[in-house]
Subunit: 249 residues, 7 copies
């Protein structure tokens, strides 16, 4: 009861500290991330894998318009979870930074520097008044100096580098699956499989290719590539992850 | 009771997150959309259809002045639902963007890029303080590269692409009708019929041409066209959707 | 009781949405309009009629100084209801827009474009913080391309076109009278008569010329004209609407 | 009780509408006017009369420093009631406007245009945030095109033209007296007498010349003139309005 | 109880009107004035007298550093009561105005114009948001055109001219003494005596020269002059006002 | 209880007046000063003495980094008490003013003018919104025109000149000691002794040189000088003020 | 209970004083620091040691991406504790200051001047409105003029110089360990050992090299150097601090 009252006190204004040193608006923004469907990233020796669950709520909705996978530069992709409109702002920001870097130095931006530009932008919205934090988490994956790199940005503006991770709904369960099954020797193909299996592990009805987004950036080509639906379907068949019921459409 | 109190806490200030990660002001703006009469969009192979319910409250009111259908460019139209005055601002914004694009590149703006410019504008009003979100949803329909395209913008600033959709009052019931009856093989004529039938399905007293707005953008001419009242009347007669009672006037 | 509490929560800050999607400050501004005496507009084939009830509270007050009828341009007049000081701001805005248009294009401004400039101005005060909405409704009447036009602006910034309407106190009762008695074939003379009768229908003590304002814009001359008191008196006599008691003065 | 609570809700922020469409801050500013002593204006064929009650609270206070009568231009005077420091701001504003007009057009400013400039200034303080309304009412009297003119500005920014009026404390009782005794045929002398009698009608102890301010602007000379104490005393003697008790000093 | 609650409602924000038309922040600023020790001004035919009670709380404190008497220009002095740091701001403002006037017109500033510049500055802090009112009252005394002038500024920004007055603690009692004993025929010497006697009348332990400040501006020299301690002591002896107990030091 | 509630009402916003004319934020800032350890100033004929109690909370902390004594110019030092980070801002401000004065006039700044620049800066933070007051008190000591000067600035922005004073914790008790033992004939050496004894009088465990800061500005050299630890130790030994327990280190 | 209520009153707005003179937002920011894992600094004759506890929550997380150790300039490093995203801002600020200093004077910035620039930046966020304080503490270690220097910055903006210190979780227990075991004669090697032992003293499961960060700046090379994992592992083995359980990975 008291906790309830105390908590209310922090809902009203700008992002401020609670007596126990937490930033409630940032923590609530994390809840907004959890309300979104999961996105998964896996780093393999051959490159990085991004898998997103689009949860298409109607057969009339075009799955391609559910924006959770984004190409940011030739060699970098971002998967988001949480508030879609907020994600769009950060993606735009990342694209502009990549272009500026390319123009200024004639070289593609590194995945780590790009991540740090994004998190610094996010942090400002948690400290300076007049705006709310971003209600979105991003998985930034790409190739930098021939190495696959996989980063997370959270609503506080903290960057993390991962071998494999999930953001959004069911994050903990998916990460448990990843922890048990991830190996450093995986190739890109196995990475796609692991990510799909991890997503399936929290999904009782099985998966459908139309409701998924899969992208890779491999170290050889250094190119971001979104897999077409039939290729996703092959992966699902191969890993025996297909939902029993065909989509209505 | 507690829920009631908790909810009140989020009504007062700028758009901020609730403890469960929702943006109440945005959700309330969605309620404003539901308070408006329905607007419907249908995409067919031949083009897109926009149908709006004007709900004219008095015979002395000029139906043409109820602004729910808007020509934005030769090849793009927008149907709105919700707060009319807010819709006007977004329509103006869309028109300016279309003109700028035309001037800058000598080509008509694409439906998707236009939609994304509009949603980015909407999103800003949900994150930065000093203003409230827009209480309006838009259906943006048009032809891009010879293909019919149909988008929705919601008060959070999220874009969706649809085969057929409704926004505003009775959205769910109308979409149920659309889901059951939509087929990808429809021509424009059938699309107009489907949209009118879907609107009729939630309207006990039947429809009247004067209280409706119907527009199309077909892929051949790539021209936005609002149907005159008699043409709408023919559709209603053909589909047996005419209200029993003639309008008073 | 709860409704009472809930409502209070929305009174304090800038114009924001309530949980059911309403903008309370805008609705309260509508109440300000209802607190004002009625203004009436009637569109006939020959032109438009504006009639205002000045409700002069003292014989020592100069009726001419009660500002409810305003000439905006040679061919456009505005009748207001609600907060007088707010109306003055919008009238000034409309006049400036008319002058700018005249200077820029060498042609008088259209009634519809003028209306839309005014409502866009009104809308801004309902969305952006730091000011309250305008507590006034306007009837904008005039001639555009040889056609009589009659518009309403409300505190939300929504424009409506009417054949005949009332704003301010007793709006509903007056509109009932107009609905029953309006015909499209009326000439300007009959329009003046209808407007006065409609006003009389909600006025138990009858009307007095000194307490009324009557103006017309006819399609032939395209000139705004306020009727002198004796001419109004003739109309009242002719329609048997004169108050039994002479004014005290 | 409830009314009490409801009212409190509107006291805290900027000037906003109450549920019944009133602007409480403006209404409270009107209370500030009522807390001031009365000022009276009378328009006669020969010119206008301004009379103010200074209510000098101590014999050590110099009556001339109680600022309720102000010369604004050669041909215009203003009597104020309410918050003295606020009145000073509006008087300064009016003087600057008169000077600007004189410089720009080489002609003295009209009383009506001057009034409208002042009320537009007042209105801004009731709509835009960051300041409170002016707690003062003004009587603006002068000669324009050879005609005597007498205006009132109230805290909402509404202008009124009067034959005779009072602002400040006891306004209603004084206006009742004026209504009964005002005639249009009065000369300036009778106007001064009427104003003093009206003030005396609400003053049980009678009047004293030292505690009054009397000014006229006559149509012949078009000059604002404040009457010296002995002249005021003659009027009081003539109309048998002198207080029984001499002032203490 | 209710009054208590109601009052609290006005304490929180910027300076706004209460339902009965008062500006609470201004009234609270008046309380800040009352919390200060008294300052007294007396106008005689020969010049003006300013007397201030410094109430030195410790023998280690340098009495000269308690700033209640200020020379503003050669011919003008100011005595303050209330919040000392606020007084410093207004004194600085007055000094700058006096210098500007001297530079611009080559003549010393008049006491009345100076007073009005100061009160206009004070008023702004009571109407425009973002700052609180000044918690100080000033007595401005000097010679203008050979005449002694004595003004008061209060926290609302209202100017008053006095023959003799007190501001600060015990104002009412001191003014009662002044009313009974002031005569217009006093010379400067008698004026100093009257001011000291008036201050003594509210001071049970008698006065000490070290705890007082006395200044005069006489009409002959038109020079502000602060009396040295021994001269003040002579006055106290002469008027039998010396405290029985010598100061501890 | 009521007092408690009433007080809370003033805690929330900017610095405003309470009903009894106090500025609570300023008074709370004074509490911040009391929470700091004491600083003492003594003025002698030979110069001024500043003594500060550093209260070093750990043997690992470098005592020299506890900033309570500051050289501001060659001839001026400042001892602070209260919020250390706030003190740093005011010290920086004072140093810049001293440099500007030196550059502009080629002469060292006077102690009094410097003090007044500092207090005017402090006052602004108590009147204008958007920031809180400074939670610090300063003792400004130095030599001006060959004379030792000793000033205090408090959080309201009021300047005081003292013969001897304390700020911070135990202020009253220390000042009682100073009052009883201060004499105007002291030389600098005796001044240092008095200050140390006064500090010791409120310190049950005795003093340690490492936990103290002692500085002087003597009239002969006009140089600010901080005493080394061994010299402080000598004073402590001489005055028998050494703590029984040696510091742990 | 009352304390609870009182405390809540200070949570809502900008950083203001509580009645007992504390800045709650700053104190809550200190809680944010305590929520972070510990960072430790030790100063030896040969240089400074920085040790951070990264507490890696998952074997899939790349420990190198947990940013608690930062090279700021060749000769300066910073260890942080608390809100990571806030720390990034201050580190960036410190780096820019170091670069500017290098460019401007051609010399590396001193550790003390750098610390003071950082704390002044921190202080601004505790006094001026519109932003919250930084929820982070820094240990700034480096070599200045051939001497090792070790500073702390806290959320209030106060700088401290230490021989050895800890910030973040378990600060007090770690400092107790440091107090007992620190000696001024330590060399760099012993310093690393002491810091690791101190961290181990509060860590029941022992330490793992992968979860630690160790850096040194020695006086000879004046170079910041982060120790590779195997070197850290050697230290742990040598001091018998290794956790029993190997990390899962």
């Amino acid at each position: 009861m008291q906790g309830q009252n105390q908590q209310q006190a922090y809902d009203r204004g700008i992002t401020i500290f609670s007596p126990d040193g937490r930033l409630y608006q940032v923590e609530y923004a994390r809840e907004a991330v959890k309300r979104g469907t999961a996105s998964i990233g896996v780093r393999t020796n051959d490159g990085v894998v991004l898998v997103v669950d689009k949860r298409i709520r109607s057969p009339l909705l075009e799955g391609t318009s559910v924006e959770k996978l984004h190409k940011v530069d030739d060699h970098v992709g971002i998967a988001s979870a949480g508030h879609v409109a907020d994600a769009r702002q950060l993606i735009d920001y990342a694209r502009r930074q990549a272009q500026v870097e390319q123009l200024r130095y004639g070289e593609p931006i590194g995945v780590e520097p790009l991540t740090k530009m994004v998190v610094d932008n996010i942090q400002q919205y948690t400290q300076v008044g007049g705006a709310r934090p971003f209600g979105v988490a991003l998985i930034i994956g790409g190739v930098e100096d021939g190495e696959p790199r996989l980063y997370e940005t959270d609503p506080s503006g903290t960057p993390y580098e991962w071998k494999a991770l999930a953001v959004g709904g069911n994050r903990n369960d998916i990460e448990d699956y990843l922890k048990e099954n991830y190996t450093e020797e995986m190739d890109l193909d196995a990475g796609v499989g692991l990510a799909l299996e991890a997503l399936d592990s929290v999904n009782e009805e099985g998966l459908q290719a139309e409701g998924l987004g899969v992208a890779t950036v491999d170290v050889e080509t250094e190119q971001y590539r979104e897999l077409p639906v039939d290729e996703v379907d092959e992966y699902l068949t191969e890993h025996d992850l297909l939902a029993d019921d065909e989509p209505e459409e």
